[in-house]
């Protein structure tokens, strides 16, 4: 059992942060790696990136958006509760190196995945420009941590409620135009965001890393469910990735495969919400 020792609700309860006791994993984990978690015996195996670790205390940090049945179930877990299974660290760590000037772009919960990479790039002596975005001010996460992990931080909201009004891609274009010496872009967020950022950086000829989130099962290269096309070759995101060259990724295929279980996901989520509703009315 993997106990939750700290829990925080962010972005008005749509994003949850957990610190989970998993000493072996905490000791091994590197930025960019993920774990697979299962809440209980009937649960799904859900991949989540480690947003941070505390090897001394044997803890890992996961930050997830509540988007369906399984993440909603995770949300019900309180401090002192435990995940039944946590497996990791999985995937290839980010290849962190000194390139000079870099830009890190994060959207939504992607910011949580981006943060340890940004911090690592800064520690290696890179000049780090960060761009983070959300739909609206209340949904923006990790502003302070990202500020500390970068030299320049730009904030965007779709509705203009905070920072610049507009998408992160627009800010990325401005930054790339003004900083012709950028040697690396790291873009992590929703698939459309990564797709457009990659198109943008390609125009500027800047090498780009993205972190892919296909549906996964075992996370050890055994099932092939996480297959993605990169440079015309089949790759398994759980072992070959999750980070890939954004200029090579077939984002349309990824988008399509992420839709594999839409009807089932809706059914499961609706059933779960109904059962939660019942549970509440029962108590009151």
């Amino acid at each position: 059992m993997f106990e939750i020792v700290e829990r925080e609700e962010m972005a008005q309860g749509t994003i949850i942060s957990n610190w989970v006791r998993a000493p072996k994993i905490a000791k091994k984990a590197k930025p960019g790696q993920f774990v697979i978690l299962r809440a209980n015996e009937t649960g799904e195996r859900i991949p989540l990136t480690m947003a941070d670790t505390d090897p001394e205390r044997g803890l890992i940090n996961i930050i997830y958006a509540v988007v369906g049945k399984s993440t909603a179930l995770f949300k019900t877990l309180k401090v002192g509760d435990a995940y039944l299974d946590v497996i990791g660290p999985l995937g290839q760590p980010t290849h962190l190196e000194k390139v000079g000037k870099v830009v890190c772009v994060g959207g939504g919960t992607g910011i949580a995945v981006l943060h340890p990479i940004t911090r690592g790039l800064k520690q290696l002596g890179n000049h780090v420009i960060a761009i983070i975005g959300a739909r609206t001010k209340e949904l923006l996460i990790l502003e302070d941590k990202m500020r500390a992990a970068s030299h320049e931080l730009h904030i965007c909201t779709d509705d203009g409620s905070y920072g610049h009004k507009g998408f992160v891609t627009e800010m990325l274009k401005k930054v790339l135009t003004e900083n012709r010496d950028i040697g690396l872009a790291v873009c992590i967020g929703p698939v459309p965001m990564m797709k457009f950022c990659s198109q943008m950086t390609k125009e500027f000829g800047v090498k780009t890393l993205v972190s892919l989130n296909p549906i996964m099962l075992d996370g050890t290269g055994m099932c092939g469910c996480c297959r993605v096309q990169v440079g015309g070759r089949m790759q398994f995101a759980c072992v070959d990735g999750p980070e890939f060259d954004g200029h090579q990724v077939d984002f349309d295929e990824l988008t399509l495969r992420l839709r594999s279980y839409l009807p089932e996901e809706k059914l499961a989520y609706d059933r779960f919400k109904a059962s939660l509703g019942q549970g509440c009315s029962h108590k009151s």
Partner: protein
């Protein structure tokens, strides 16, 4: 009861059939297909064995079970003695009785089979193990005094379970490390409930735990810990990680929604119990027209699972003919009875899909058989211009599996062959890396349960020698 046994006018007893669920009923449920022998049926079948002095059946058994020996005890109604006899050579008889290809092993050599059908050795083995599990006394074999030596077993498939069971009895401390959240290997994630109930596998693992074996699940060796780190804490390490790398057809359209590797399809339905969605959270596309590519046990399992998931048509598309199907005879027979439709001499060339990304069909070519190839089977050759389309909404690719590089890449000092399998001494399981042994599918490539167990047995003997005498 001994007086009439030798009666000269004894009537010839036909091979006793195991009672089974009706095919039309069972194709809709996940309960086990055969019910197993009753004690009466088992004793009657056991009488068919003529107790050969130099039994040929035993030569066909990769772990050399004393077959006439255990059958004799069944005939006499001493079922506990029968299971003890089996346990001398085989720690997983309930599993082997169900999944071994007996027709090409023990039963294929049985002398009774020359004129009549062979003795149903597999059914009897299964009976003895089931009887023990359900009705037997709770007996544990004696353990040697503790040696203070520690062994790590990586992977909990039949190879790893065998090594663990052998070495714990010899007094060593054993810890199994398993990447998935449940132990059993292919027995738990691959072979379906209707063929091998998961409770049986869980029972075998609990038995090992009662003997003192520690089982650590969620431990991906190579990631959570490395083999070199295990070597710091353990005196010896056995690698039985299986052949867990799915093969794809490498034809256009494999990304469409509804195209699965057999590993994914079966893991979803078995390990994750997707057949019980939404009571279990993991989904699986419930195809109406499903095609499975391949002709082995894995393909039969997938095609029969598809029926149980509600398929109206479940096809097996195989590029050779019926005679070359590598699956166990019993599985082919069961699949046919349940209504799986076989398209022989047929090879897929591309998948077709709609604009939403859903699979809609597969284009195939007709084949004819040419000269025998390296495997001795006649090589299928495409017939030009014979393209045709099969309408399907789900495809399961069951054309084999390869060596998963996750552990081997993270383990310096292991020698691998050109396909990525670990090179190990076939007599001892010793690898090129000191204090590391390997066996099962990760050495031989995808094979069988009993061969993995046989490899485990050889390795455990060698590990024991090493821990005891230092060689």
């Amino acid at each position: 009861m001994s007086e009439e046994v030798k009666a000269p006018k004894k009537e010839k007893i036909p091979r006793q059939k195991m009672p089974e669920q009706d095919p039309q009923v069972r194709r809709h449920n996940f309960n086990e297909v055969p019910y197993g022998y009753t004690p009466e049926l088992a004793m009657k079948e056991a009488e068919r064995c003529i107790q050969c002095k130099d039994p040929r059946c035993k030569q066909g058994c990769p772990v050399e079970i004393d077959i006439p020996g255990f059958i004799k005890f069944i005939k006499e109604g001493d079922f506990e003695a029968a299971i003890r006899k089996l346990w001398e050579k085989n720690s997983l008889p309930a599993v082997c009785g169900r999944v071994c290809p007996q027709e090409i092993q023990c039963e294929g050599l049985c002398v009774v089979g020359k004129k009549d059908e062979p003795v149903a050795i597999g059914n009897l083995e299964r009976f003895a193990a089931d009887y023990q599990r359900l009705h037997g006394r709770d007996i544990l074999p004696p353990k040697a005094p503790p040696t203070g030596k520690k062994v790590a077993v990586v992977g909990s498939g039949p190879a790893g379970l065998t090594v663990a069971g052998d070495l714990i009895l010899k007094g060593h401390e054993v810890t199994i490390f398993e990447a998935l959240h449940a132990p059993g290997g292919v027995l738990i994630y691959g072979i379906p409930e209707f063929r091998l109930p998961k409770e049986i596998v869980a029972h075998e693992c609990r038995y090992l735990e009662r003997l003192g074996v520690k089982i650590e699940v969620n431990a991906v060796i190579g990631r959570t810990e490395t083999v070199d780190e295990l070597l710091e804490r353990f005196d010896a390490v056995f690698l039985g990680v299986g052949a867990g790398l799915p093969m794809f057809l490498n034809i256009p359209g494999e990304h469409y929604i509804g195209v699965y590797s057999a590993n994914e399809y079966l893991t979803r339905s078995n390990l994750m119990r997707a057949y019980d969605f939404p009571n279990y959270d993991t989904p699986l596309v419930r195809g109406k027209k499903v095609a499975t590519f391949g002709g082995g046990n894995v393909a039969m399992d997938a095609a029969r699972t598809a029926l149980r998931m509600g398929a109206e048509h479940s096809y097996i598309i195989y590029r050779r003919s019926h005679a070359e199907l590598p699956a166990r005879a019993a599985e082919i027979h069961h699949a046919e009875e349940e209504g799986v439709e076989f398209l022989f001499l047929t090879n897929p060339v591309r998948f077709l899909g709609n604009e939403d990304g859903y699979l809609t069909g597969v284009e195939c070519l007709k084949m004819e058989l040419g000269e025998p190839d390296a495997s001795g089977r006649r090589r299928p050759i495409p017939i030009p211009g014979s393209e045709f389309i099969v309408e399907i909404d789900t495809a399961v690719i069951a054309i084999g599996s390869g060596a998963n590089p996750l552990l081997t890449k993270a383990t310096p000092g292991l020698a691998l062959n050109k396909w990525g399998y670990i090179i190990a001494d076939p007599k001892t399981g010793k690898t090129m890396k000191p204090r590391v042994w390997a066996g099962g599918d990760i050495v031989t490539g995808a094979a069988t349960v009993i061969l993995a167990m046989g490899a485990g047995r050889l390795a455990s003997n060698s590990i024991h020698d090493f821990l005891t005498y230092g060689w």
